[in-house]
């Protein structure tokens, strides 16, 4: 026995979280500081110009054309600016942290705007005069026209009851579909090229036989108008840069501005020729997608390292670019992402996604289209960029394949163990198999990846739309009380008996299954109606241009125009529900330590006065996350039932429903609407997140956690989320780093989809909670994304502090 066991050979943690300097040079540091220090505000200009466009064109043209004409009107007239030092240009609003509103989706009431302005967290400042504009112009025009209004009017009573009670959420209630990512195409074509493709598609329409031909023509016209819109925007930025250059006194800045102008002469009308132009091209596309509508998960540049590599190689070879300048340009792009807060949200949508983060997510690494290792020089450049910038947006992840060099994995681990949650790690082989399993071709699967949080998709080819979170532990709660919801005080579920009526665990589980099916039907029916509402009333001609095969089909992205069309339903709380069922099975049915009636009494009273029962369910019952088959088999039975109930139901876009297992911040909201649960979770506390074990339930270390998690069949999902928290000492030193990498490889060998790490001292978090002013820069991993600790609600902060720390050394 070594009496002296050293747990920490070399202190590596620089995760003090205290405000630090980031950015490679003065230019970047300045732009980064501006991005971080600007107060988010509401930008009403978009709503005003949209109203003008509708007043001018509505009724004259088809709906898709109307949408495209609005985008053209907006890009022709919105205010634009170029900030000092910028090398990549373009903002969604009128500057950093300026967030346009989207009244066609959610027409904010004046009260909404006051709440947005006044709330402590995720606030958006509203100018005094904008309240007046909203009241006099926006509300009268959009109140009844908004999609939110249409949706809420179209839903059944059952749907509304379940929705308000927190059984499930609805993604499309305030934000458009989207959930998609660009492909290599963006970097290979200009919008004049797309216009040619569109014209060819129009010429090929068959007005003799095809009853849809007119609709297709309207859609294709709309796409062509949308091409004009982005080209106008590019031209305006070019002109602005040139006129600013004429007036610039600093010769360096003059040169920068002329370069920007020259870039805008090429993109977006033509395909990019240089590394710099490729980045600017992407950015214009990003602005157009996110200005046209406010799709969930903003938009992402796809497999950026692979898309950029040919430009990088060429520019470096001809001497026009070196590594340092390439890094500077990437860092400029990073600032651009970070300048865009997510559109302002209200109500339940804010609760399920309480963050400014707009979920742009960049995949680095993985494999190439021919199946070879995809890591290149730009991959390492991107790792350096994310390490240096340490920004929330874009969220950065790495894809790790069997073919990925260890050097790349170790470099990614080195950044990850600094404790701010990025990069997250994804399993390339799992992603490919998930995509193949969902019917994609091998080529499309290899160029796919994950976006948003952890959602798998075929980049550039798929509309994989998240439809809502599904509260599994809450449905178990209803099952125990004959379908009655004690929190909202109403009958919500089926009347299948009370907990005491179930004579065996199997009877209880059967009743649970029936309740899940009941709510799944309600949810899916609602989502189908919502999909149709978007297809009819809110097409996205711009996004359709860049998504294969919308041009070919003459069909909109929101109407099934993409090559693949998936609707995802996200299961939440698998850790909590597993531990609840395990506690019931073990204590009530197997060991008979107490009766079901005693347990439900205890739960109704939040375990007050029931210390013995609380102790048994908390400390002496099998728990998920310990590589214990007793609990893990229950996890499998719940997961498999959920998956089989949802998967394969047809959606309204020619595709089908599938599941993934992720929560964003919804596990906090889903916990709020629940009473105490059978695993000892107290009333209104968060449920477990992703597929991670319930807090403090995993006591056997990280190998046991990942083994429990790997018992779920990840390959039959569209993504799972595992959050692993480490104390700094566990990942310290060469040994800590190597074994972190080995843990990831092992989890991926077992087909795990994703793992991410929070490496932060509990003490740091407590300090940050007490002294937020000293920790403005502290970033933590929340769910499939990172956020500033200070932006999180108190409940979410507490929950992150409580998550089990894996400390064994």
């Amino acid at each position: 026995m070594a009496e002296i066991n050293c747990s920490c050979a070399a202190p590596v943690s620089d995760n003090s979280g205290r405000n630090e300097v980031h950015g490679m040079n003065e230019r970047i540091r300045k732009l980064r500081a501006e991005s971080l220090n600007t107060q988010p505000s509401l930008y009403i200009g978009r709503a005003v110009l949209e109203t003008e466009a509708y007043e001018k064109y509505e009724g004259e043209v088809s709906v898709p054309e109307l949408r495209a004409l609005f985008l053209k009107h907006y890009f022709s007239n919105k205010e634009i600016s170029i900030h000092d030092g910028e090398l990549i240009v373009g903002e969604k609003g009128n500057g950093p942290q300026s967030a346009p509103s989207f009244p066609e989706l959610c027409c904010h009431t004046l009260e909404d705007m006051h709440v947005m302005n006044d709330r402590d967290l995720i606030n958006f400042k509203v100018k005094d005069e904008d309240f007046k504009i909203q009241e006099e112009k926006i509300i009268p025009f959009w109140e009844k026209r908004s999609i939110r209004h249409k949706i809420l009017n179209s839903m059944t009573e059952e749907w509304k009851k379940a929705y308000h009670a927190g059984i499930f959420t609805e993604f499309m209630e305030q934000r458009g579909p989207g959930h998609t990512v660009g492909s290599i195409k963006i970097y290979q074509k200009g919008f004049l090229d797309y216009q040619k493709d569109i014209q060819e598609a129009i010429d090929a329409l068959d007005f003799y036989h095809d009853p849809e031909a007119l609709k297709k023509k309207e859609q294709l016209n709309a796409m062509s108008i949308a091409c004009d819109a982005i080209m106008i925007l590019g031209r305006r930025y070019g002109e602005l840069a040139r006129s600013m250059a004429a007036e610039a006194t600093d010769p360096q800045r003059k040169e920068d501005l002329l370069k920007i102008a020259a870039n805008c002469d090429v993109v977006p009308a033509h395909k990019p020729e240089t590394f710099h132009q490729a980045l600017q091209m992407y950015w214009f596309v990003h602005l157009a997608v996110t200005s046209e509508l406010n799709p969930w998960d903003a938009y992402s540049p796809g497999r950026l390292d692979q898309h950029l590599y040919p430009f990088y190689k060429k520019d470096v070879a001809d001497g026009s670019l070196d590594r340092e300048h390439a890094l500077e340009l990437l860092e400029c792009l990073w600032v651009k992402f970070n300048n865009q807060p997510a559109p302002p949200k209200v109500g339940i949508t804010l609760k399920e996604s309480g963050t400014y983060t707009d979920f742009a997510n960049i995949n680095t690494g993985g494999i190439a289209p021919d199946g070879s290792n995809g890591v290149n020089d730009v991959s390492y450049l991107i790792l350096d960029c994310m390490d240096d910038m340490r920004l929330l947006q874009p969220s950065s992840n790495v894809q790790i394949s069997r073919k990925t060099p260890n050097k790349f994995l170790l470099r990614a681990c080195e950044i990850s163990r600094k404790g701010w949650g990025q990069p997250a790690f994804y399993n390339t082989e799992a992603i490919i198999q998930e995509l193949l399993n969902a019917g994609k071709s091998i080529e499309d699967a290899r160029m796919g990846g994950t976006s948003g949080c952890v959602e798998t998709g075929a980049f550039g080819n798929e509309a994989y739309i998240l439809t809502g979170y599904f509260n599994l532990p809450k449905i178990l709660e209803l099952t125990l009380y004959n379908g009655y919801d004690h929190v909202s005080g109403q009958q919500l579920g089926l009347q299948l008996g009370n907990a005491e009526d179930f004579k065996s665990y199997e009877e209880l589980f059967d009743a649970f299954k029936k309740q899940v099916e009941y709510f799944a039907d309600i949810k899916v029916k609602g989502s189908n109606v919502i999909e149709k509402i978007y297809a009819e009333y809110m097409p996205v001609p711009f996004l359709s241009i860049i998504t294969n095969d919308c041009i070919k089909k003459g069909k909109d992205y929101n109407a099934g125009g993409a090559r693949y069309n998936t609707s995802y339903l996200q299961g939440v709380g698998i850790g909590t529900i597993t531990d609840c069922l395990a506690a019931i099975k073990y204590n009530v049915y197997d060991e008979k330590k107490f009766t079901m009636a005693e347990l439900t009494d205890a739960m109704k009273k939040d375990f007050e006065g029931y210390d013995r029962i609380l102790n048994l369910v908390q400390n002496h019952s099998p728990k998920y996350g310990n590589d214990d088959d007793y609990a893990d088999d229950i996890m499998k039975s719940v997961f498999e039932f959920y998956r089989d109930t949802m998967t394969g139901r047809p959606n309204m876009r020619g595709g089908m429903y599938r599941v993934n297992m992720l929560p964003t911040t919804c596990h906090v909201y889903f916990g709020e609407v629940m009473m105490a649960s059978a695993n000892g979770r107290r009333a209104h506390k968060p449920v477990s997140e992703g597929i991670s074990p319930e807090k403090s339930a995993d006591t056997h270390g990280p190998t046991a956690v990942v083994k429990s998690c790997a018992k779920m069949d990840h390959l039959s999902t569209g993504g799972t989320l595992l959050n692993q928290k480490f104390t700094p000492s566990v990942v310290a030193g060469e040994q800590g780093l190597q074994q972190m990498a080995n843990l990831i490889r092992s989890y991926f060998n077992m087909d795990g989809h994703h793992i991410q790490f929070n490496v932060i001292d509990r003490q740091v978090l407590l300090n940050a909670q007490a002294h937020p002013e000293d920790y403005k820069d502290l970033i933590v991993r929340v769910a499939g994304y990172s956020d500033h600790f200070n932006n999180l609600s108190r409940a979410l902060q507490d929950e992150i502090i409580e998550r089990t720390e894996q400390s064994f050394a």
Partner: protein, 305 residues
């Protein structure tokens, strides 16, 4: 008894040998290092750990204790350890989860099963199982330790034996065909000093070390270093000499003392010897010692586990 007595099975153990390991800590040790940070590993046989700091004196343990080892003294709960039979009833009854029974019997089969659970991690990382303690070489019946080592070896799981070396040579000999590496502690070269620190002389330990080396066993030397006790040049140089005389150690680990074990003494109802002042050696001194090895032709020296 056809079972072995274990006080902890620690997974994702990354400081007791190569790669990701599962370390099985056997309970019971024949020597007593004054600075031991795992006092619950010293005694052969179960022991009750009670974290009184977090105890709320609710009395649930008093109610269930069949031998009245737990009782009220009027204001709080107290324990008479002489009455405790380690039945474990109070552990389950404890409402605050502050009681724990250190030590549990396992069959060889159960230990192999537990170890096998993480085989994919060993294979990915070059890890395996570490048999530690207490003192693994002092466990009874010892043939079960041999059997455990053999079974793991046959399954392709590398086994490290973490030992103080204080055991009959025959026991080492029995493990030679199945163990991959010996993590071998060396606390002091001077026999007198050794006796003072550990309560036993080091002849047997050094003899076993020489024999392991002669038999071609892979050895990692582990030197627990306590500031002021065994960190002077005169403590280190004889180790280097020993190696120059032919004792082969593939690596040398310098393990600086830390005091995380202190609170465990209280939980066992035992006193930490407050008269012994142990110092954490300075990083500079550790580096000097490492340099001493390197300078003398032993580059494979590491600070920390």
């Amino acid at each position: 008894m056809d079972k072995l007595f274990v006080f902890n099975i620690q997974k994702y153990s990354i400081h007791d040998g190569d790669g990701i390991r599962t370390t099985i800590f056997f309970k019971g040790c024949p020597i007593r290092c004054a600075w031991c940070h795992n006092p619950e590993s010293q005694r052969f046989g179960p022991e009750l750990l009670w974290n009184q700091e977090k105890c709320t004196n609710c009395g649930a343990c008093v109610e269930v204790c069949p031998t009245h080892a737990m009782k009220w003294n009027g204001s709080k709960v107290i324990m008479d350890r002489s009455l405790c039979t380690q039945c474990g009833k109070c552990v389950e009854a404890c409402l605050n989860n502050v009681r724990e029974l250190a030590g549990k019997y396992y069959t060889v089969e159960e230990l192999v099963e537990e170890a096998e659970k993480d085989q994919m991690f060993y294979e990915e990382s070059g890890g395996g199982v570490t048999l530690s303690g207490g003192e693994v070489m002092a466990q009874e019946p010892f043939h079960l330790i041999v059997e455990l080592t053999r079974r793991l070896h046959e399954k392709g799981i590398p086994v490290a034996i973490d030992t103080s070396g204080f055991a009959p040579w025959e026991r080492f000999e029995a493990l030679l065909p199945f163990a991959d590496v010996f993590l071998y502690d060396l606390k002091a070269m001077d026999p007198e000093k050794h006796k003072r620190l550990i309560g036993a002389e080091n002849n047997l330990i050094l003899d076993n070390l020489r024999k392991l080396s002669q038999n071609g066993a892979k050895v990692y030397l582990r030197m627990p270093l306590v500031g002021g006790l065994n960190t002077d040049d005169e403590d280190i140089l004889p180790v280097i000499q020993l190696m120059q005389q032919g004792v082969r150690a593939e690596r040398v680990y310098l393990l600086p003392y830390h005091n995380t074990g202190k609170s465990k003494y209280a939980r066992l109802g035992r006193l930490y010897d407050i008269n012994s002042v142990f110092n954490v050696p300075s990083p500079e001194r550790l580096e000097e010692i490492a340099e001493l090895f390197r300078k003398n032709g032993f580059p494979n020296v590491r600070i920390g586990g």
